[in-house]
Amino acid sequence: MKKAPGYKDIPIGGLIIEAGNAEKYETGSWRSFRPVRDDEKCIHCLICWIFCPDSAIIVEDGKVVGVDLDHCKGCGICARECPKKVQAITMVKESEFRE
């Protein structure tokens, strides 16, 4: 494993001087439930994309194409906000994806 930078190599005062670098911090391992989206049910209303606090819903050309599992913490907001008549997202225990 690469050694983390030392005190001479980091900005002073705990400052973060690189905008948007939170993306480099992969928080996906915090997840205990994974959102699983049924593409047949999804109406691409993008409500999940609006509500996701981690910008983890991947949208291409106005359509939901997947979830960024490197950053999704599994909060379940997407599943909760998915319209009642649609219910395209199910939260599945992360352990079920393990070998």
């Binding site: 005190y7 002073i12 005062g13 705990g14 973060i16 001087i17």
Partner: protein, 386 residues
């Protein structure tokens, strides 16, 4: 050319602030500092400064406003005393740890309880581990000079730490003295323009201040602060020398008064150094080789230089104007003993004095020096307590 004025310590510092003309000043009254900010507010009302003067609702807010303004990229000053400093405490640490070069004058006053408005050093000595550089003034002239030099020390790129400049409450703050005031242009040229490293208002280069910093990096940031304080040891004498040339007054990290050939050396700081000089002159007239080391910079503590300055003596007496409850002696004593440990076995006697503004007299100091010389003092002593 400098002007000679008759000024109180508070007024002298407010003159320095007028000449520095900081971008932002956070202002909240507390005895004995109130008059300092009141004078500065007069300058503000008269249009003599371009400062944004923020009248806040508490000292916690004063330091918070200072932190915010400094992070935004402003040159920031504030002032407080005693319980006001205590209320600031949380943010005092944050200012230093965020590496914001704020400068603050502390008009030393005893901490409550019981309530007391007079001078001791319990307020600023309690701050000795907050990561601020600390300068102590003997008189109003030094309080003025330190306020100006503090700006340069704090903003030096190798330092970037806040600086706290102390003057003794009432003894200096409310007493009129002869003070030489530099020309406004001289001060402005000396302090120069401030170019902040990471100003929040630079929207083209966005930065985050105050993020979470856990087991992975917090330690490294503390190590940086320790390094910055070490860098200050190099930077402070350079700035003292430069200001010395400008003002014609000499500044060293500590002052040696007749200590070079002294058999007994007294160590103290603040206005008591003036009284001590009279005591030492009188003892010398009586054939006793006494000397004084007056501390000016308490953080970073000049341990190496002090060993050199003190090791010729037979005995050392330390005057502490604050107690460190449960510790072995007061804060200055602990630092001196630690500096000398393993390098010399000269006895060091500590004297706690002047708590809550109790006066100290020339005869008290002569007595301290005589007892130290005769080896008759205990390790812990008190002057004038009943």
């Amino acid at each position: 050319m400098a002007k000679v004025r008759a000024l109180t310590g508070n007024h002298a510092v407010s003159e320095a602030m007028r000449q520095i003309d900081p971008d932002v000043v956070a202002c909240y009254p507390i005895t004995p500092q109130t008059e300092l900010m009141q004078k500065f507010a007069d300058f503000y009302a008269d249009g003599l400064v371009r400062t944004e003067l923020i009248c806040v609702e508490s000292e916690h807010s004063a330091m918070s406003a200072s932190v915010g303004a400094s992070a935004a990229g402003a040159r920031v000053m504030t002032a407080t005393a005693a319980n006001g400093l205590a209320l600031m405490w949380e943010i005092v640490y944050i200012a230093a740890s965020t590496r914001l070069p704020i400068t603050m004058t502390v008009v030393n006053r005893a901490l409550s309880a019981p309530i007391n408005i007079h001078c001791d050093h319990s307020d600023s000595m309690g701050c000795r581990d907050t990561g601020w550089i600390q300068l102590y003034a003997e008189n109003s002239q030094e309080a003025y000079d330190h306020a100006i030099m503090a700006v340069r020390i704090a903003e030096h790129p190798d330092v970037l730490l806040p600086v706290m400049s102390m003057l003794d409450g009432f003894i200096l703050s409310h007493t009129m003295e002869r003070v030489e005031i530099l020309e406004d242009e001289q001060v402005k040229a000396f302090i120069g323009d401030y170019t902040p490293l990471y100003p929040l208002l630079d929207v083209d280069n966005p930065v985050t201040y105050g993020p979470l910093d856990l087991q992975d990096y917090y330690f490294e940031h503390k190590r940086q602060q320790i390094g910055a304080m070490e860098n200050a040891r190099v930077v402070i004498p350079e700035i003292f020398a430069e200001y010395g040339n400008l003002s014609g007054r000499e500044f060293d990290i500590f002052e040696r008064y007749k200590s070079d050939d002294a058999e007994v050396i007294l160590v103290c700081l603040g206005s008591t150094a003036g009284t001590a000089k009279v005591a030492i002159d009188e003892l010398r007239a009586g054939g006793i080789k006494a000397g004084l080391v007056k501390l000016r910079v308490f953080r970073p503590f000049p341990h190496g230089e002090l060993v050199e300055a003190l090791s010729g003596a037979r005995a050392i007496a330390v005057l502490d104007r604050s107690a460190s409850f449960g510790a072995e002696g007061g804060p200055i004593h602990a630092e001196i003993r630690s500096a000398l440990y393993g390098r010399t076995d000269i006895p060091v006697y500590d004297y706690i004095y002047g708590l809550g503004g109790r006066n100290i007299f020339v005869d008290d100091i002569k007595n301290v020096i005589n007892l130290a010389l005769e080896g008759k003092a205990g390790e812990m002593n008190y002057i004038g307590v009943r």
